[in-house]
């Protein structure tokens, strides 16, 4: 063999070795090249599965009889089955077909097993999830289920549908993300449906406010804490109408800051909230991403409203659902229609993993939810035998054994990343807060009862039946609004609300050594905030305090979100006695904001007051620019940016006392409603900036200073007001990230009409917003219009991956098809079809 030939063979051997290595092992985080690039089975194969299935016939084990699934022109599956179990099996099948990866992400997130994909990057989130005991509680709940119960039947049938798909799917059907990660799908288990509800509970009902509050008391005193983070909102526009026909302003001057007990207070955001705000980003993350216009108050929000026939132009009840959540691709929602003649005919959205429709309508009733934000989590200070390695806790003068669980966390290659030992008292998981051990009592860790309640709600034929069905629902607490074809409308804040010892409120960390401090049960359904066909002819909720405290002693929560959206939607509904479905669509992206109506006059008044005695050209310019604003957050608006910057400055300048020395950030920020209250008290101690020695600032000085600073900030960040630099749609945009954060699979920098506190909330990093929009008219025939920011398919090659985003951005809705039978869908209405047959037939 010549030297040249030897070199050639040597080179070939090296190339072959390298090719086989990267082909089977990959490089770094990139999955093995072979299975990835293989044009028959790798990522390219996804293009072949990007279209809606058409004329597919397949067998499913355990199916009772044939199921026909017809996809309409919007890729919505209409499931026609003979039994409820079959319909649920088919739902599991189509959801798995379109959203298999999403099913697993949610499961892993709840189980604290994301590090098995993402390594140490996900370890902190995983440890938090496991420490909360979410998966553990789901497993216990599942183990306690009666095998013959409706809930077990539903989640079992759903799992059978998922299994059917995963067992028969072809190589080209494996979702993109698995290929990129070099992973195979985790087998779906029925208990994973319960994981999903726990995950929703974590998203919607987890709070560390009690812990923050302890530090606030140390910092500013208990009275001031109570006034700045009050039990009752200072602006009352409750969900259960109080008959006033207008908002009520319960403004009282807050007590000034007390002498701090611990000036060198540890920063709670570092000590206690490592991942608590991970869903929407930490305060500092938000500040980094949106600069001077960052909303201080996180935009956790949802809206729903309904009008009675007397106030609708058509003479039929109208209902709107507008839940807001973290935006993602694929979307959290999946639209579907399930028909079982005589049993079920329900249309709406499900969350992958849930064995039924969560928000939607049937032939008689429509419904939607907003989060109640109730206080359903308490902390108890425990005494243990050994704080380092506890084995028992002190309760009622004796040691009780702690339950423990050893949790192991693995990385992508099976390497052990961490081992945690978790402890549980009879109340719940034990967590460390600084040097103390606290146990958690949380309704989310109890039985949710959501599956059956939602299933029965979907079968109800009237408002009364719907309310009765949902009365068994426990967590996470929701404001359920409902309307029916007879013209009834109702709203109820549904969930398990604990009855507590002592004062009854849940704002303090309680002594865990006495069982007398434990919860004593739950409020009866008859005490839930509720309204049926109110005289005002409409109902609305937007996460505000559900019930007027003047009418009840029921403690539901604390530190309620500012009711700006509630004020706006109520104002819109009061002003229109001939509401149409089209008007409701427009409400979703209504550009006005009650916050601006309140604070703009305050800024301008203060600026004028200060300018009388002080010649300040920048302040005068800022006031002139703000006065030009029509207070509308339209896409082409040029002044909202100045107002938002002024609000941020105002909160920073006002709440300086809430910043522990040396921490660099607020321990917690009172809501803007509390700030609005403070504006009514120009002499309040809170206006003084404690950082300026020997000077006592007044309200007007702080307002004027904030406006002046805001102009400077905006000029620095966005340039002069002339031109397009201040356009709202250039400053504030929506960002819908892929579940794994792949930029190429995300929809970023979307211009939307809305802002912080608007009915269409858009704030901060723009990753939170309207996750589903629905308007339903309950006439002789139910008509509905919907959209959500995403698409039905989880396959990035599919045109159904993100096709609805443009509709969503424009605030448009699409009329849905609501056929009674498969035969009603014809011609252009049909996008594809699947026939499922009992295996072997």
């Amino acid at each position: 063999m010549t030297l040249l030939r030897r070199l050639r063979v040597g080179l070939a051997a090296v190339l072959l070795g390298c090719g086989l290595y990267v082909g089977s092992c990959g490089i770094g985080v990139v999955a093995p090249f072979g299975p990835l690039l293989d044009p028959a089975h790798g990522i390219w194969a996804l293009a072949r599965s990007a279209r809606v299935a058409n004329n597919v016939e397949t067998g499913i084990p355990s199916l009772d009889s044939e199921v026909r699934i017809v996809y309409d022109r919007r890729a919505v599956p209409h499931i026609f089955a003979s039994t409820v179990d079959d319909a649920v099996r088919a739902l599991g099948y189509v959801v798995a077909r379109d959203r298999l990866f999403q099913l697993e992400v949610q499961t892993r997130a709840t189980a604290g097993r994301l590090a098995e994909w993402a390594g140490r990057n996900a370890l902190r989130a995983d440890r938090l999830q496991r420490s909360l005991g979410l998966a553990r509680s789901a497993e216990r709940e599942f183990a306690a289920l009666d095998p013959e119960s409706t809930e077990m039947r539903l989640i079992q049938a759903y799992a059978e549908g998922v299994w059917a798909w995963t067992h028969q799917m072809q190589p080209e059907d494996l979702p993109f993300e698995y290929r990129f990660l070099g992973q195979e799908p985790l087998p779906w288990e029925p208990v994973h449906s319960l994981y999903l509800m726990k995950r929703m509970g974590y998203t919607l009902a987890y709070s560390t406010h009690d812990l923050t509050r302890r530090r606030l008391v140390d910092l500013i005193g208990s009275e001031a804490t109570g006034d700045l983070f009050p039990l009752n909102s200072p602006i009352q526009e409750p969900i259960q109408p109080n008959g006033l026909g207008a908002p009520r302003f319960d403004f009282e001057e807050p007590v000034g800051p007390g002498v701090p007990r611990m000036r060198e207070l540890e920063d709670v955001t570092a000590a206690v909230l490592p991942s608590v705000v991970g869903e929407v980003g930490s305060t500092s993350d938000r500040a980094a991403s949106c600069g001077s216009i960052c909303a201080a108050e996180p935009a956790l929000a949802s809206n729903n409203w309904a009008v009675s026939p007397a106030r609708s132009a058509s003479g039929h009840a109208l209902l709107s659902g507008d839940p807001h959540l973290t935006l993602s691709l694929p979307s959290i929602w999946y639209e579907a229609h399930m028909v079982v003649p005589g049993e079920l005919d329900v249309y709406g959205v499900t969350i992958p993993g849930s064995p039924g429709i969560i928000i939607g309508f049937n032939r008689d009733v429509a419904w939607s939810f907003t989060n109640t934000g109730a206080d359903v989590l308490d902390y108890f200070q425990e005494v243990v035998d050994d704080p380092a390695q506890p084995s028992s806790y002190w309760l009622d003068d004796e040691w009780r054994p702690l339950e423990s669980s050893v949790e192991e966390f693995y990385g992508p290659n099976g390497e052990l990343l961490a081992v945690d030992t978790l402890y549980f008292t009879h109340r719940g998981p034990l967590i460390r807060d600084g040097g103390e051990l606290l146990s958690m009592r949380w309704t989310v860790l109890d039985e949710s009862e959501a599956t059956v309640a939602l299933f029965e709600a979907g079968r109800s034929g009237s408002v009364a039946q719907w309310v009765s069905a949902m009365s068994t629902y426990r967590s996470p607490a929701q404001n359920g609004i409902v309307a029916d074809r007879s013209g009834s409308i109702a709203i109820m804040s549904i969930g398990a609300y604990p009855i507590r010892a002592g004062s009854g409120d849940g704002t303090e960390v309680r002594d865990g050594t006495r069982s007398a401090n434990d919860w004593r049960g739950y409020w009866p359904v008859s005490r839930y905030p509720f309204a049926l066909n109110p005289a005002q002819g409409f109902l609305a909720s937007a996460n505000q305090q559900p019930i007027d405290p003047d009418t009840t002693d029921l403690y539901l929560g604390v530190n309620w979100p500012s009711p700006w959206r509630a004020l706006r939607i109520n104002a819109l509904l009061r002003a229109d006695s001939q509401v149409t479905a089209e008007a409701m669509r427009l409400y979703h992206t209504d550009p006005r904001n009650a916050k601006a109506d309140f604070f703009v006059p305050a800024f301008l008044g203060a600026a004028n007051e200060v300018l009388v005695t002080l010649a300040d050209s920048q302040l005068a310019e800022a006031a002139r620019l703000l006065a030009e604003w029509d207070r509308q957050y339209t896409k082409d608006d040029q002044r909202a940016v100045l107002f938002e910057a002024a609000m941020n400055e105002l909160e920073r300048n006002t709440w300086d006392e809430l910043q522990p020395r040396g921490s660099g950030r607020l321990l917690a920020g009172p809501t803007q409603a509390v700030l609005a209250q403070l504006v009514s008290f120009p002499e309040s101690e809170w206006w003084d900036d404690a950082r300026t020695f020997g000077v006592v600032e007044t309200r007007d000085e702080i307002l004027a200073l904030s406006l002046r600073n805001a102009l400077q900030n905006v000029l620095r960040e966005f340039g002069p007001p002339q031109g397009d630099g201040w356009r709202w749609d250039r400053v504030q945009r929506a960002n819908i990230h892929h579940l794994l954060g792949f930029m190429a699979l995300s929809a970023l920098d979307l211009p939307v009409q809305g802002g912080p506190g608007n009915l269409n909330p858009s704030s901060g990093s723009g990753t939170f917003g309207a996750s589903w929009r629905m308007v339903v008219e309950l006439g002789p025939e139910v008509t509905a219009w919907t959209t959500y920011p995403g698409g039905q398919s989880g396959n990035p090659a599919s045109k159904w991956y993100d096709n609805r985003i443009s509709t969503w951005v424009d605030g448009e809705l699409e009329e849905v098809l609501f056929p009674i039978s498969a035969g009603q869908l014809k011609g252009g209405d049909v996008g594809g079809s699947i026939t499922l047959r009992p295996e072997g037939s």
Binding site: A12, G23, P35, A40, L46, A47, F176, F180, S798
Partner: protein, 124 residues
């Protein structure tokens, strides 16, 4: 002379065509491992040992191009290419090129290594 060369070209083209289809079929049935495996077999049995690696590389690339074309008929491959390439930090043309090149490198190197294992007596 010209006719002979044309005939030779046609024979080579036919070999590439058929071998490419064999690579495509083998990939569909056995996955990407079929490429180096089939190329190695070709390297062992090909009548012309010197040309075998090049022929295997071109045929493997052609085989995978065939599969990509088949995929393009059945679905939106360019949408997928754009999105997948972006995730992997490259362009869609690069990703397509990388895919074809990967098969060619595997086939060429496997054929060369296999050819080196052949007994000298079979060398032509």
């Amino acid at each position: 002379m010209i006719v002979r060369r044309r005939n030779q070209f046609q024979i080579v083209a036919l070999k590439v065509l058929l071998l490419g289809m064999a690579f495509a079929l083998a990939t569909m049935v056995f996955g990407w491992w079929a490429v180096p495996a089939l190329a190695a077999v070709w390297g062992l049995i090909a009548p012309n040992r010197n040309r075998a690696p090049l022929l295997a590389a071109v045929a493997a690339g052609w085989g995978w191009v065939l599969l990509l074309l088949w995929t393009a008929i059945l679905g939106p491959i360019m949408t997928l290419a754009a999105r997948a390439a972006n995730v992997m930090g490259t362009g869609s043309a690069s990703l397509l090129g990388m895919t074809v090149a990967f098969s060619m490198v595997l086939a060429w190197s496997a054929a060369v290594v296999a050819g080196a294992l052949r007994s000298p007596g079979r060398r032509q």
